[in-house]
Each structure stands twice: as structure tokens, then as C-alpha cells.
Subunit: 341 residues, 2 copies
């Protein structure tokens, strides 16, 4: 099979319309006044030949690619999937395309991103400490950067969105305390002292403030916040602290995994153990019992994220934004105090 693809260029439609290439550019980009007659001829030629301008060639004039890379730990995480869905939905309306980059393996992706002249990168997940240099490289190459609040470098060059997961963690501890719990555990997926996430710190701090003994389960090395790992962390929790009455997951998936494992082992939820998540993914509404959690509104977040990215690209803005989480009542928290009264 021959590969005879006739590339329809601006020149061809110029000839077709009986004008010069420049004129074609001008009518297409509205970059200078063109007579009604000529404009019409050009548009007709465009229609007839089904012409689509070449983004690559435009990009070479320093116009940008209208392409944004979204780096996520894993698109299999429903929260990130919702977020990506929402960003893309907002971005396509303005002609932006999105590259999905998994694994957060910057060494592999960043040179590629630069080579592709991608306009901006949104780091939805945490950037490892030994990969900071790659962010520097992005900035040096004119790529805009948006991160979460964990990233504390180059503060006046990058934009950030604070997801307030730490705040949610604090609220979760308080809530359980107010409902009479004292043996409150935290299932953490980050390596202790990773410096990438505030949730464990907030948990410890809050427990201390309440005069409670902390029950934190942390892995040796940072792991993904998945259902599977939630189960594993819960198993370890049970071995070490069998009398725990409440569990906070670092996110909904971890909480759901833990809860599922608990139920499989015969625990009743919330009668025997209470659970709280952080995220508010759709799935948390669909399990029985419904998970009590803090909802992040991924749709709104995605829209906001694109808005920020857009302004970074078009207007060279740098902003810092706080995205709040909303308490979402579920069925997985038992009120011990109420019963005691």
C-alpha cells in the first residue's frame, strides 16, 4: 500500500483561491484586514480542500503548541481520572490537547516534554525530592509549571493549587474525637519524613493536641494510595493495634480498601470500626455503607486548574490557589458518645 498522502498546505489553498500565502494566513488568523471578496474566496478554498493548518509549523514560530501535559501517579486512581476528565473537558473548548503522563517518572518524561514544546505541565501527584532538577529544566525551557502545595521550590516561577488535604485530615481527627473515639488510626502511604505530604504531620499534631496516643501505619517506602494498599495497611494495623475503633485513610481508596478488608474479616462498619476517607470520589457514594469523607469536587478543581494553566500560558500569570474540601456525611462513623449518654 502506497503512502501517497497529499498534504494540503497553505500554499495550495493560496493557489486555489488565486491569492498569496500571506493573505491566506491573514484571513485565517485575522491578523490584518482583508477585503470581503478575497476572504470569501479563501474560505471557500479552505472548505473545498478540507484544509487544516499545521500546528507544528505554527509552533515553530514560537506560537506554542496548545498542548498541556498532565502528570499523574496513576490514571487508574478514580480521583485523578475525574480530575483529568474535567481538565480536558474545559481545555478542549479552547483548542487545547492534553498529554497524559503516568508514573511520575520525570527523568523519562521531562526531556520529551521539552522536545515537544509542550506549553505547560500540571503535576497532579507529588514530585520526588531528587527530581526537583527536572522542574528547573522545564522552567529554563519556558514550560509553565503547576503543582500541588507540597512543592516548595521556585515559588515565584510556578503556580500551585493547595488541595487542603492536610486541613481535611485535621477535621477528620477532630470529628472522630468529638464522636467519642480515642483510638484513631491513620493509614499513611508516604514514607515517613518524605516531606511530600502534610497529612501524617497534621494527624500526629492533632492527636497530640487532643492528648491521644497516635496510631499511624506508614510504609517503609512511599507506595501508591490504592485500594490494595489500603487493605495491606489495615492488616498491619490490626496486627499492631487490634483495639482500634476508627481509621482515617490518606484518601478514599485507602479507606475503602481498609474498610473492605475489615468487612471481609467479619467486622461490622461502623458498629465495630469507623472509617473516614479524603477525596470524595464517586465510588465512595456507591459502596455500602457509604464512606464518610471530605469531598474535593474534582470537576470544579479541574476547571480551575485549566483556568490557571490557561492564564499561565496566555498571560504569563503565576498564582497560588486554595481548593477547599467539603465534609461529606456518610454511614461509616459511629457516634460512641451519643450512645454513652
Amino acid at each position: 500500500m502506497e503512502n501517497v498522502v497529499l498534504k494540503i498546505s497553505r500554499n495550495m489553498i493560496a493557489k486555489e483561491a488565486g491569492v498569496t500565502p500571506t493573505t491566506v494566513s491573514c484571513v485565517l488568523n485575522n491578523t490584518r484586514p482583508v477585503s470581503q471578496k478575497v476572504r470569501q474566496r479563501v474560505m471557500e478554498a479552505v472548505e473545498r480542500l478540507n484544509y487544516v493548518p499545521d500546528v507544528m509549523a505554527r509552533a515553530m514560530q514560537g506560537k506554542g503548541t496548545k498542548q498541556i501535559a498532565v502528570m499523574v501517579d496513576s490514571i487508574k486512581n478514580p480521583f485523578l481520572a475525574e480530575l483529568v476528565y474535567s481538565i480536558e473537558e474545559a481545555g478542549i473548548k479552547k483548542g487545547f490537547f492534553f498529554n497524559i503522563c503516568g508514573k511520575m517518572d520525570l527523568k523519562k518524561y521531562i526531556p520529551n516534554i521539552i522536545a515537544r514544546k509542550i506549553d505547560a505541565v500540571y503535576f497532579c501527584s507529588e514530585i520526588k525530592n531528587d527530581e526537583v532538577q527536572y522542574v528547573r529544566q522545564l522552567l529554563d525551557n519556558g514550560v509553565k509549571v503547576l503543582t500541588g502545595s507540597h512543592f516548595s521550590h521556585f515559588t515565584d516561577e510556578i503556580s500551585r493549587i493547595d488541595m487542603a488535604t492536610g486541613v481535611a485530615m485535621g477535621k477528620a481527627v477532630r470529628l472522630l474525637y468529638e464522636r467519642g473515639h480515642t483510638k484513631i488510626a491513620c493509614l499513611n502511604t508516604f514514607r515517613v519524613d518524605s516531606g511530600l505530604d502534610s497529612r501524617l504531620d497534621v494527624y500526629l499534631q492533632e492527636m497530640k493536641a487532643l492528648g491521644l496516643e497516635p496510631i499511624a501505619i506508614s510504609p517503609e517506602h512511599t507506595i501508591s494510595a490504592t485500594i490494595e494498599n489500603g487493605k495491606i495497611l489495615f492488616e498491619e494495623l490490626l496486627r499492631k493495634y487490634p483495639d482500634v475503633t476508627a481509621v482515617i485513610g490518606l484518601n478514599d481508596l485507602v479507606a475503602l480498601g481498609a474498610m473492605n478488608e475489615a468487612m471481609r474479616r467479619g467486622f461490622r462498619v461502623p458498629e465495630d470500626i469507623s472509617f473516614i476517607g479524603i477525596d470524595g470520589i464517586e465510588l465512595s457514594r456507591l459502596v455500602v455503607p457509604q464512606l464518610t469523607t471530605f469531598w474535593s469536587n474534582a470537576k470544579a478543581l479541574g476547571q480551575k486548574a485549566f483556568e490557571i494553566l490557561y492564564n499561565m500560558i496566555e498571560n504569563n500569570e503565576v498564582v497560588s490557589f486554595n481548593h477547599d474540601m467539603v465534609y461529606l456525611e456518610g454511614e461509616t462513623v459511629r457516634d460512641l458518645r451519643k450512645e454513652k449518654i
Copy 2:
């Protein structure tokens, strides 16, 4: 803030290394023999200046962009998320980048795909009948196309992967029948006669072959195969056929939604109603009771899909591949016959 980004070009590293741009190209692309000495000087300059070749400029020489668009109905669908994850994981190893395109709105995306000189498009979800023209346009512009088996046009120009969901549907009906069920329902998300999916047809055909009265619930217009719609379809099913004993969902999400709704209404699963899904998403393993389903092995599928895409792009191949589903025993099918004996 100034935007003084110094673009490091091939010319600059040529100067740095004291050679000509051509030589730089040749050592970078191994396109002709270069003396060890010169090669070394060039490589050093590349290192020193942190040079990354411009993909856009290469693309303009007709070299391709090493970019693949993945069109999905919704990345929020866990099956598609797993698939995308796996494709991307395989592709990045060979330097490919992936554009995630939601909504299957071809009118919006296809011109953009052409303009961006994207090498290939994988349609993971169904292509509407009135959008066939856009596929033609892709082919005319040299973009490779990979679809599912539902797409019956341009058969010698595009590659396809048959996901065998129809086969799974047939097996599901047989399975339920063998276990003594006769009131077997099918929750369908496609408009009747959409021509986009074989599952309903297979269901009807199989029921007829078994001499059973079909109980199919279909929407007026095609809807997404989501948990939410599974609930809605199940509600309608209950209204129309309250004595149903088994339900097959078009995919796992639909089955899970239906099952969840059933449980909320006080039905016991599988004692009162049996459920079967098609997909085998991870979630189906994590609910209680575990969903009986047909597993599609999204990871293997994604790897295969990339392999096909790669061969289409690099070697101009066109292939047709059958991806089989595997029966995955769960806890949601009651064996009526066994009990009767």
C-alpha cells in the same frame, strides 16, 4: 517577568562542538558514520548545554510526531482508565506520547488531530454512524486508525481489535440458563438498532435459541455504561419485570450499579437476584459480594494495542486481532438447579 528563554538549537551545539549542524544531526540520529573524535565532541556539547532536539521540526520533515491519540467515551470508566494506563506504559518506553480525548466528539477532535500531525488514533469507544466521515478524513491525512470490532468501514485501511464482548454475553446467558435461570434480563446502554454493539443482539438470539422470553431494557438514546445508569436501568427493569431472577449488565459498571440498587432496595445477592458483568474491572473484585464477570485483561489488551499501533505507524501494517475474555467466577450467581435437585 521577562520571557527570555534561550532556545538551544542544533546550530548552537554545532558551534559549541566546532562542527556543522549536519554533523550534529548525523551523530544524534546515527544516520551516517562519524569519527569517534567528532562524535565525542558533539555528545559533550549536547550534555553541557542540556540540548534536546525539537520534535516539531523533525515532524515537519515528515518524520512523525510519535504521538498517539486515544479516544475514550470517558476516562472515568475504570476499564478505559486501566487500558489507557497500560497503553501509555508500553508506549513511553518507545518514546511515544499519548493524547487523551474524552467524549468521543469527533467533530471537535479530528481536525485538531490532523493539525497536530498525530501519528495514529485508537478509538476505544464506539464511533457514531454519522461520524464515519471523520475517520475517512483521518485516513486521507495519513493518520493510522485502530478501532473496535463495531466499526465496519474502510476495512482494508484500518486495524481493529475485537473485544469479544458479544461472545461473553452469549456465555453469560448460557451460564445462567445452565444454573436454572429462565427470567434472565439484559441491561443495555445502546439505543436499539444503533448498530454499534453486538451484545444486545447476541442476548436476544441466545434467549431465542434457548426458548426463553427476552427481558431487555434499552434506553431511548445511547447512554454511557456507568454505575449511575446501571441503577436507572435496574429501576426500570423492576417496574416492568419484577419477577426477574438474573441480570446481565452490558459491562461491569452497569452490573455493579444495578446490583447496588438492588441491595439498597433490600434484595439479597445472589439469593434473590443474580448478577453478571462483562469487563472484569478491578472494582468487581472489591465489592461484596464479588461480581461474577468476564475479564478482559486490560493490561494485556493495552500492551497489544500499542504493539499494533506501533506496527501500523512504523511498518504500515494493518491487522485484525481478537482479544478474548476469560470467565471470572464471583459470588453473584445463584445456582437454582443445584438446589432443586
